[in-house]
């Protein structure tokens, strides 16, 4: 397996439902979400370094709170000050990735339930095809809605549509080149794969899972808590088809 640099952007400013704590820093079953995400990658043998991108105004406090512990438990974590947009954050981290690293993986800080096998599959697809990302086929009918009246204007064919997830994995050199070209592309870019697509590069999708979701709403947080519970002991079987 080639060496992989992992970029985890966590500099975004969205807090949980208006609360004081930003979502990646919420504690989920006793462990912060960002740390769960970091642990998906930090101990993998192919991981050269994990770049955790934080808001510049928060990086000092973060170091005070977690710096010593991170140094004790890991030897391959680098904190990077982020930018106002996700792309600046990825670009800042990318600038620190050494040239002897072959692949760069970008993963959402609030997507901490990703399985090790999905990460392996996306890495292997990136080795084969140059660029790959996790995604799931759209399962529901899609409606375009006029936002002021909430009225449906159109049913959008969902054939061959997939919902993007992460990880997204790229050859380092190709991602660096794409970021260098970014200013010339006069289109809004919502993820790193789109940058390569816009430059005509091949990006393949690897089937992810609905359980590989971003924690962005209270319902998501509750689901994540439930998924982290140990499985309940099997119930005593009984026939009770009409019980509640």
């Amino acid at each position: 397996m080639p060496r992989v640099a992992v970029i985890i952007p966590a500099a975004g400013s969205s807090t949980r439902f208006g609360g004081p704590i930003k979502k990646p820093f919420l504690s989920l079953d006793g462990k912060p979400i960002w740390l769960r995400t970091l642990d998906l990658f930090a101990k993998r043998p192919e991981t050269a370094k994990v770049y955790l991108v934080l808001h510049p105004e928060e990086i000092e406090n973060f170091r005070l709170q977690y710096g010593a512990l991170l140094m004790l438990a890991y030897d391959n974590i680098e904190l990077v000050p982020g930018g106002a947009e996700r792309f600046e954050s990825v670009a800042n981290a990318l600038a620190n990735v050494p040239e002897d690293v072959e692949l760069v993986a970008v993963h959402d800080a609030v997507r901490c339930l990703t399985t090790a096998s999905l990460i392996t599959e996306v890495l292997q697809a990136a080795i084969t095809h140059g660029a790959a990302m996790a995604a799931i086929p759209v399962a529901d009918t899609l409606k375009r809605v006029e936002p002021t009246s909430n009225t449906i204007t159109e049913t959008v064919p969902r054939a061959n549509l997939w919902q993007a997830q992460t990880p997204q994995v790229f050859e380092r050199a190709a991602l660096v080149e794409a970021y260098a070209q970014r200013a010339k592309l006069n289109i809004p870019i919502t993820d790193d794969a789109q940058l390569l697509e816009a430059l005509g590069q091949k990006v393949v999708v690897v089937p992810g899972s609905p359980l590989n979701f971003k924690i962005t709403t209270p319902d998501d947080f509750r689901l994540a808590e439930l998924l982290l519970q140990p499985p309940a002991p099997p119930p005593v079987k009984s026939r009770r088809p009409f019980d509640d």
Copy 2:
């Protein structure tokens, strides 16, 4: 509240992941999925009747297994033989709805986690606007994928896109008229709302929830099982930021 007829299409032939039991008939935490869905509506005061649409070849066995119990526990359930397509199933049920019923709600048999408050909100929006449905804004970037190579061909703007859910609620007369016009519309129709949209009628979306999902994969089934567990007792609080 006007009187409401509820149509639950459960005649589809998809089985669970190749197993012998069709998804609506799987037992979820001791109770069949179709019955959980039926119970969302059957006891509501505005519900005139629930039309449960079953595969014609299965209706006799279903009656043998559940008929007596359904008669004992409910007084407003009608079993309807369905068609090969969902639309035939809805049309068959719709033909049995009496004219003094003002609203018709259609709800997926495998969407059994819908909350009572969401059902109320969709009904009220249908009273106000004539037609309404539950839906959630698309949260992820969408990719169009070439299916033989799994290569991304396009990033699709997700602005103002919503994922359709159910219930979908319509004025009975408008839905009957839409079904009568259906043959003239030479387009593939994936849900009932689309039929009214195609005829230029207003349909509004009501924000649903990611927890109002269809049970279509093993992961969905597991999530539903978890959501039906009673909440765990609050854990003893301790500071263990680095525990697993």
